[in-house]
Symmetry: C2
Subunit: 266 residues, 2 copies
């Protein structure tokens, strides 16, 4: 199954932040519902508007979103207290914590929660030395994180790597490293998953949707089994279903054909 | 540069066959013009309607198409006489013969023309034992063809491999072998090119365009540098430009941005 983490409920976006601070539960619930209906498997919840309010905002968001959808949530924060506040309220099967990195403080603060609540965890390939631009740097951090996670007794199928996509406009050639990192992951750690925040690829370019769709298809071609996207963005789910049908990941293309019959494909 | 061989002028299609036999030059010229304007780098010309008429039909088609476009043509036939009839009329820089295979008769009949007229050549991975379904069989034929072509003094940058795409609906998992064959080609024969007839992937499925676009993006992600497509099919050129921009093959994304400014992207 492809992991589709819906990205819209994120307080670093101004429109969401304002609605959360007004405690507009209907708006947030409708965002959760829309992404669920569009085909999400998880709903990301990011309460990172104001560090001083983050724990309270995460509690409120978790209560609202968990009522609006039956999907597992992804608790997205650098603050262990905010994450624990959310996961205490809603720890459904499939829950993910977003994220650890190779940074000492992140590992020490967040990995105990992954262990305690038996959640999945997104692992970003950055560490105390920064965000590597090349393939080798990404893969080295991934290997280091695998060792740490395994030493804590967390099974690798709970880990979702995010290789930190850079914009194609400013960092040409980065996408190739991402595709290669996925191939390395599939080979070295076949139990581990991928959950890439992919829309950064199109930052600064016109009609971002074109680039997001093309990148999604090639990621799936390279063996990627998950992404952080907006499933309600036009054509994203069509592209995902098409890519899976093309590759034979969708047995007898039945998901593709069903989506067509239900009028879900353009 | 990505090789875009426009596939529409093909007499195995009934609508084209009828127009050619009526000697409807305006219709054929408009097909050539439409594909040229859509972004083709080459126009395929297939006169395979009736073997008894193929040489005459190829002569007429070549005369009409070569007046309608300044692009090089791709002479597409199993009949060496028909190919030579075309290439004698129009042998522009970039001309390609479509195709040789590993079959003895095809090599003996067609490779001398490639040598004599210094054209490019499409190499299909099939031989006297049939069309291999697996990666290994495709790669073995490719290696065998490389040896034959090089022994004739033909440079490898004149060769365009077509790994013979099967429909996803009936041959699930074939696309993966194609992606892997491309990676092998890039590694073992970096000078050689790819020119895949990709639309077969969606045979028998609804909204074939969705599958063609997703497959094109993942092919480019895997290192494919050419395809036989209909460039006027909606979204194909947008997908191609997007995939190249994503991968940094389009410096500073200038082709993508130019296409946007010219209103060529949806």
């Amino acid at each position: 199954m492809f992991t589709i983490i819906a990205e819209r409920i994120n307080m670093t976006r101004k429109s969401i932040r304002e609605k959360v601070w007004k405690r507009d539960a209907d708006f947030i619930a409708s965002e959760a519902d829309r992404q669920t209906k569009a085909g999400a498997t998880h709903i990301d919840v990011n309460a990172g508007g104001d560090p001083a309010k983050e724990v309270d905002d995460m509690r409120w968001l978790t209560e609202v979103v968990s009522k609006a959808t039956q999907l597992p949530l992804v608790f997205d924060s650098t603050n262990p207290k905010a994450i624990e506040e959310g996961v205490k309220i809603c720890n459904r099967d499939g829950t993910i914590i977003n994220s650890i990195t190779g940074e000492k403080a992140r590992i020490e603060g967040i990995l105990p929660l992954v262990k305690k609540y038996k959640t999945g965890v997104i692992a970003l390939t950055m560490d105390d030395n920064g965000m590597p631009e090349d393939l080798q740097g990404r893969v080295e951090i991934a290997r280091k994180l695998v060792k740490i996670v395994e030493s804590e007794g967390i099974p690798l199928n709970k880990v979702y790597f995010d290789y930190l996509v850079r914009p194609a406009s400013t960092n040409p050639g980065q996408a190739k490293f991402i595709l290669e990192a996925i191939a390395v992951t599939r080979k070295e750690f076949p139990q581990a998953h991928i959950a890439l925040g992919l829309s950064n690829i199109s930052f600064g370019l016109p009609i971002r949707n074109n680039l997001n769709k093309a990148f999604l298809a090639m990621l799936i071609g390279a063996g990627c089994d998950g992404a952080i996207i907006d499933p309600s963005e036009p054509g994203m789910m069509s592209t995902l279903l098409s890519a899976q049908a093309v590759l034979g990941l969708d047995e007898y293309c039945m998901n593709y054909i069903s989506a067509y019959r239900e009028g879900k494909l353009k």
